[in-house]
Amino acid sequence: MSTNNLSYNDQGGSDSAVEVGQETTPTSSNAGAGFGLFSTNFKKNDDLKEMLESNKDSLKLDAMKRIILIATGKNASELFPAVVKNVASKNIELKKLVYVYLVRYAEEQQDLALLSISTFQRALKDPNQLIRASALRVLSSIRVPIIVPIMMLAIKEAASDMSPYVRKTSAHAIQKLYSLDPDQKEHLIEVIDKLLKDKSTLVAGSVVMAFEEVCPDRIDLIHKNYRKLCNLLVDVEEWGQVVIITMLTRYARTQFTSPWKEDGLFDENSETAFYESDEKKTKNGDEKKSYMMDPDHRLLLRNTKPLLQSRNTAVVVSVAQLYWHLAPKHEVGVITKSLVRLLRSHREVQYVVLQNIATMSIQRKGMFEPYMKSFYVRSTDATHIKSLKLEILTSLANEANISTILREFQTYVKSQDKQFAAGTIQAIGRCATNISEVTDTCLQGLVLLLSNRDETVVAESVVVIKKLLQTQPTQHSDIIKHMAKLFDNIAVPMARASILWLMGEYCERVPQIAPDVLRKMAKSFTSEEDIVKLQTVNLAAKLYLTNSKQTKLLTQYILNLGKYDQNYDIRDRTRFIRQLIVPNEKSGALGKYARRILLAPKPAPVLESTYKDRDRYQLGTLSHTINTKASGYLELSDWPAVAPDQSVRNVEVIEPVMIHLYFYYPEAESDEEKSSSQSSEESDKSSSQSEKSSSESDSEQKKTTKKPPQKKTVKPTAKDRYYNELFNTKCLSRSLFSLCILTPCPLSCAAALLQVSGPAFVPEKRHDLLHRMTGKGLSAQYQFPRQPCLYQPTMVSVQISLTNTTDHPLEQIHIGDRGPTGLDMHCFNTVDSSIRLPDGAATKEDQFSVSIQPAVGELFLPATMTEQDFRKEQGKLLGMNESSATITMAAENTTRQPISRQVATVANLGVVPSGQDNIHRFAGKTASSGAVVLVTVELRESSAALITINTEKSVMGPMLLRDLKRALTRA
């Protein structure tokens, strides 16, 4: 730091220190104290540096807060070096603020930003998952190309981290790295592929987001994960749901055949198209005789439906668009209610939802017709909402409701908002053309509006009447006359031009009036707007051809005026018309056809919605809203004519059909089931179960299509429904099956300094609680998921899975009397009271007493601590509290990895980083009382090892020692 700065600080240092102490939130509203800060903002940057370099965290923190404030308005990058030094600070808030700053300015100060990288690399190895995650988050946000390899490495490592939170962060980092360096695409796809297989709901949304951004065309990566994603969907956080649903919509359009053909067959008899496509795919033509929905297609529709009830409007609309694009036509109706509900939401939400409804209502009137009144306009609606509602009401109009709608429109026409009134008139015009019954009524109504005092209303009416008359001009010469009379009073150019056009087009119906109008126009020609002048020239030409006797001179006069007009369009038009209609020697063959050219019958304009062509965009997308293709928009493909191979979505581990068989033929297949479910991870439990249920209801279809030989018996449908319900109930709340056991002990404060970390390892071993023979068909297994208990941190979670192996339902399963005294259990009431069986199964009551015997190692929570802390704690727990034994290790257990794994299998302990290679330390605390448990494994020569356990729980110590001994000596 230069002497200049120092001298300044000598003068002002004390002042600023006082100031900082006084105000924690420096703002303009804080006038008295804020004064100093803002008046000397520039000089203050120097003392900020000073503060950042001080030893006190509070000073640094205040400095950082002020820097963040400065950064909102001005460039604060000159402080970068001073700030970056604090990146390794212990104070979490300070650290976070430094991160905010770093991410903002790293791009501008690339070299200096590199100084901070090593800190993050260290933090990536931290035992605390929160720190690992935030380090990765910031590291990947620093947009400095040099560190791309480091980022790549960090992402790969984080993708296989134990904590799902870190894995989620790595999914986010993928997108950041991709935008920084698109060349990394191939490597990133590998990571995405890995993360897509992840079974945590936390990761699912983020990785699909990364997939959409990096490789949306790699649809093949989804196949194996499709069913899992469908099943996890309900439990994914709401933002992830939106992304997953959008992606699955696209996926389904490439993988399944159209469910709409079926409807087409019924209502439009489009059989030719149907059979044509059939012939092309002769190899499975017979199967396609009647449409059969792919069970996976059905699975998607079924699992998204509950989300229509979400409070998040984005989720609701994404489900709605999924149904719109994927569901059979007769099922789309379920989305109507939910969309109408969203109209109660914020104005901006209404805007987007109404746009989507507008597009839908053009194709499917019936969907929204019952809710027509929900689209009535209120005077308080914003302009864009009003016009959208008008649009929808017009689309919904049909013979039955048109009178109601027109009555409503009458109110709108009188609105003070003239733009809206004009929109209403156009809407009336559209209704009139679409529904021929009311054309006359509408026309009469519009004519009445011609005497309206407001100019815009009159002008709009004229324009609409013009269009209407074009569709059926024969009967309406009196309206044309009426308009001619009004002509003098109308000043809006568009309306004047429209009247002139009408005169010219139908001049033979009003032979008296048309020349008179032309006379008036000749007088005022020079002062008219361009558009009116053009129509005047047209009128003159048409009259010249039909009634040249009266109008010859007038026409020539107007053509002369037009010849010298300032506007070149008008000059061109005049010249063209003159050559065409006035016969002279130069006019070629075209002159003969002048009449046919000018007085050709013109097709009536089609009045249609501006939302007509929006259906080319996927509903709910930005592109649909702005009606242009937004960058990054992914086209929704058409249904494939032939469904691609369905088996790509099969997952080896959990084969739904097999499990399905298990329920019905317990003798035959039970072994297979057991092995498959045991190998599947516990976290997947609920999802695999709902997958089972999904296969249930589709069993009928599968039977006929996929594996006919295996299933000859037809099951009663009632049973199918029952299993469906049972497992739906199960997946509804997965915690339904976890109990918590608490050994009552006063909470001691000794372990307060220990931070509990996530489990290092979750053993998959399950223990039998109730065998199916003893339990008369009900079998129960339990395991320790080693997850923090939600009910009380001092409890240990036990997960119990119940399986019904009988062919009849089991109702009212509940946990009866509490266990022995001293055991506190937090359990749920009746498990599945919702199940009713129609065929009146016999009621029986059975009671089984079972006992869970937790291994001592399951009663701990892993803790993280440093080696020093470990030594310190160990020092307090000597003598009585220490138990040790020397053992001979199994040959393969002599390196770090296997030892950690073996210990983690036995006991839920955390690894303590150790400086020595031959000593391994593990730490934890008991769940109930928080007493410290320390384990040391010291390797001696020739595979001998000393295990030492220090804990004040004198019973637990030896028990744990015994278990550890067994585990480590076992080969």
């Binding site: 300070l94 509950p306 109110t411 309206n452 930005l622 702005i626 960058s631 990054g632 941190p793």
Partner: protein, 418 residues
Amino acid sequence: MINSLFLINPSGEMFLEKHWKSVVSRSVCDYFLEAKEKALEPEDVPPVIHTPHHYLISIYRDKLFFLSVIQTEVPPLFVIEFLHRVAEMIQDYFGECSETVVKDHMVMVYELLEEMLDNGFPLATESNVLKEMIRPPTILRSVVNTLTGTSNVGDTLLTGQLSTIPWRRAGVRYTNNEAYFDVVEEIDAILDQSGTTVFAEIQGVVEACVKLSGMPDLTLSFMNPRLLDDVSFHPCVRYKLWESERVLSFIPPDGNFTLMTYHVNAQNLVAIPVYVKQSISFFECGSDGRLDVTVGPKQTMGKTVEGVMVTVHLPKTILSINLTATQGSYTYDNGTKLLVWDIGKLNPQKLPNLRGSLSLQAGAPKPEENPSLNIDLKIQQLAISGLKVNRLDMFGEKYKPFKGVKYITKAGKFQVRT
């Protein structure tokens, strides 16, 4: 996804900007400001604006514009919903959402925004999770913080974020365990000149304030759940149980939250609690008009109608008004032509009436349309649809909580055409 966020006050000043990806220049907001200039009212600014390189999605709320900058395709509602969550979060943390409040807590708002999005993708939007990471300011805490130098940023990893119940904090403790539910129903209606109902429906919401220790599992049941036609739930509600048994079973978030919103069956006739007799007329010759409005109770189920308020947007050509009210008081703003008549409680014996003359600007034509009246009202202890909570059961915890249910009926968008 979301690239940047700008907060803009009604006069067009940007007082907060936050970028989650690379920095987008402020000048991008010019497109928005242009659109804002064009719009008559701030509400009329189009929510989605298309500029050459970016897409701007904005919401207008609490007199502030929340403007987000987007670069690629994203569902617009995703952004809109998120922006509203930001506004709700500010409201939740600081009691109100306004320019001053944001400026007062600028650093904390930054910290919150940093946690809410990662690379433009929402990370933590649950208020319970955020509050565990960054504790909301209280007077006591700010004193303690200044004295001890501790911060209000949490340093533990949140169990909430990792569990399947992300909306609830672990280890909640209260000395008084209480759970309150407010059933609030709003009547949306359009009445025509003669007082006939053009359109009416009831929208309801169950707001909850749950302060229970531990991990309670609640079940709320209704006497007449069949009334409810369309519902949407807080994520905590078990949808399947609602489908099968029509009960709300949930592990609640801690504190205030919206449990469900519902829509009452369209078949049921909606009771309109008040009637309005009005006549607004302008004389063809001369620049004069008369206004006469009377409000009276109609179907009130024996309850008193309170907080009645009539709001009228008078035509722009009105020059001045001269009215007398038999009850309550009226205010009139000549700039916005907004007439507000605050009546208060309705007394069936003596109906409130507002009458007097309106004078138009000289030479101005007679207004085409009479202004419509917007009615506001409140009825305590009544859910107009007849919905009743049957009981609330708690499982999983041992203590006896204090339970309470309150019913309120309000006017939603209640409009009388004249």
